[in-house]
């Protein structure tokens, strides 16, 4: 009597606990048990268990809506918020409401799955498009300035070929492009050649510019006046080769008249190598 009653649970409570644990083994709650006796058991059921027990004891269905309501909100808290805010009205059957929510969820899930699948397929398509494809089509010529080239018929081809030959045969032959793009090529010796020998010295190469003047008159032995006897090109590094070719022969021949010496035919140097032959390079 002095002890509180809550030390020992009631037998009813014990039975409810045991029944909840073994609810899968329960095929039916019968028809004698009052709803409030079995309520704690039903509240701990899963959806499937609840469905089964309701069907076995139909008299319970009158009172189970509150359990279905609880299930709705536990499983779909978002719907709970909407209900609280008054967006969803009280449904006639909370059980139906629950299954509606289940379907809605399934639909949303499927929609998301489809979207992801579609995006993946599209990405794959795009990858395939940019990949290499086997085709029997002829490649079209490269378009310049956005103008596409139409394939020529045989007649057109013959015609254009013939006109081209005709043009070329009777016109001045086209000169090949100048070597070195026309730069660094002096036809005449530089006007201020006397001032020229500026030796640019860097760590490896010492380059002394050698100037050979080729004068039109050539009567006097003006060899020594503007030219040095021998080329003074010294390098310390075998890799670097002098750019200016020494022309030893010219001073000797300066006495002979050179009528055409002023203007050199650009094509004459067409086949002159830019650098020394490999075997001639200073080791």
């Amino acid at each position: 009597m002095s002890l509180p009653d809550d030390r020992v649970p009631t037998l009813v409570q014990y039975c409810q606990r045991v029944a909840s644990v073994h609810v899968d083994s329960i095929s039916s709650l019968g028809d004698e048990l009052r709803y409030d006796l079995v309520k704690p058991i039903l509240e701990r059921c899963t959806v499937d268990q609840l469905m089964r027990l309701e069907q076995a004891s139909p008299y319970l269905q009158k009172e189970t809506p509150e359990i279905w309501k609880g299930l709705c909100f536990r499983t779909y808290p978002a719907a709970n918020d909407r209900y609280r805010r008054g967006e969803i009205l009280e449904p006639d059957s909370w059980k139906e409401q629950y299954f509606d929510l289940v379907q809605e969820e399934a639909r949303k899930f499927e929609a998301v799955g489809n979207k992801i699948r579609r995006q993946r397929l599209e990405a794959e398509e795009r990858k395939k498009d940019s990949g290499i494809r086997v085709t029997t089509q002829q490649p079209t010529g490269k378009r310049r300035w956005g103008v596409s080239v139409q394939p020529k018929t045989l007649f057109q081809k013959t015609k254009s070929e013939a006109s081209r030959l005709q043009k070329n045969m009777y016109s001045k032959p086209m000169l090949p492009p100048m070597p070195n793009n026309g730069k660094n090529y002096r036809v005449l010796p530089a006007a201020n050649s006397a001032l020229l020998p500026t030796s640019t010295s860097n760590s490896r190469v010492t380059v002394n510019t050698v100037v050979h003047s080729v004068s039109a008159s050539g009567s006097s032995s003006s060899v020594s006046s503007t030219s040095k006897g021998s080329p003074l090109v010294t390098t310390s590094n075998p890799v670097e080769s002098p750019r200016k070719k020494p022309r030893l022969d010219l001073p000797a021949d300066s006495q002979l008249p050179k009528p055409m010496a002023v203007k050199r035919d650009p094509t004459a140097s067409l086949f002159l190598p830019k650098h020394r032959a490999y075997s001639q390079r200073i080791k």
Binding site: V8, T10, E32
Partner: protein
């Protein structure tokens, strides 16, 4: 009348240790328990209360319309409860242990009976 006096005598004295009552199941089984145990169930206590002048009180027999299996388990619980309600505050009640003593096969019947017995 003498029987009644005798019954009343045994009810008012502190000799509850010797005060045994009979609990009967509907399939013919009888269980003898101390009155203190029987009092764990309010229904039984009222039935056996001599002040109420019930026939059961006079006969000191309490019929329970349940199978013997159920009655036995009911009485087991009543013993458990009667013992630990009187136990000192330091003594721990083995709550879980009793739960294991309830077989699932009878749990729903037991639930019904327990509710009827108000325990």
């Amino acid at each position: 009348m003498a029987d009644v006096d005798m019954a009343q005598n045994s009810g008012t004295t502190a000799e509850t240790d010797n005060d045994w009552v009979r609990v009967m199941s509907d399939d013919g089984y009888s269980f003898l328990v101390r009155r203190s145990v029987a009092n764990a169930s309010e229904t039984m206590r009222d039935m056996l209360d001599t002040a109420g002048n019930y026939a059961e009180a006079i006969a000191r027999t309490c019929p329970v319309s349940q199978r013997a299996v159920i009655v036995e388990k009911l009485l087991e619980y009543m013993s458990f409860k009667a013992y630990y309600e009187k136990a000192g505050p330091k003594e721990e009640v083995p709550v879980q242990e009793f739960m294991e003593r309830i077989p699932p096969e009878i749990v729903l019947e037991l639930l019904l009976a327990a509710d009827y017995q108000n325990m």
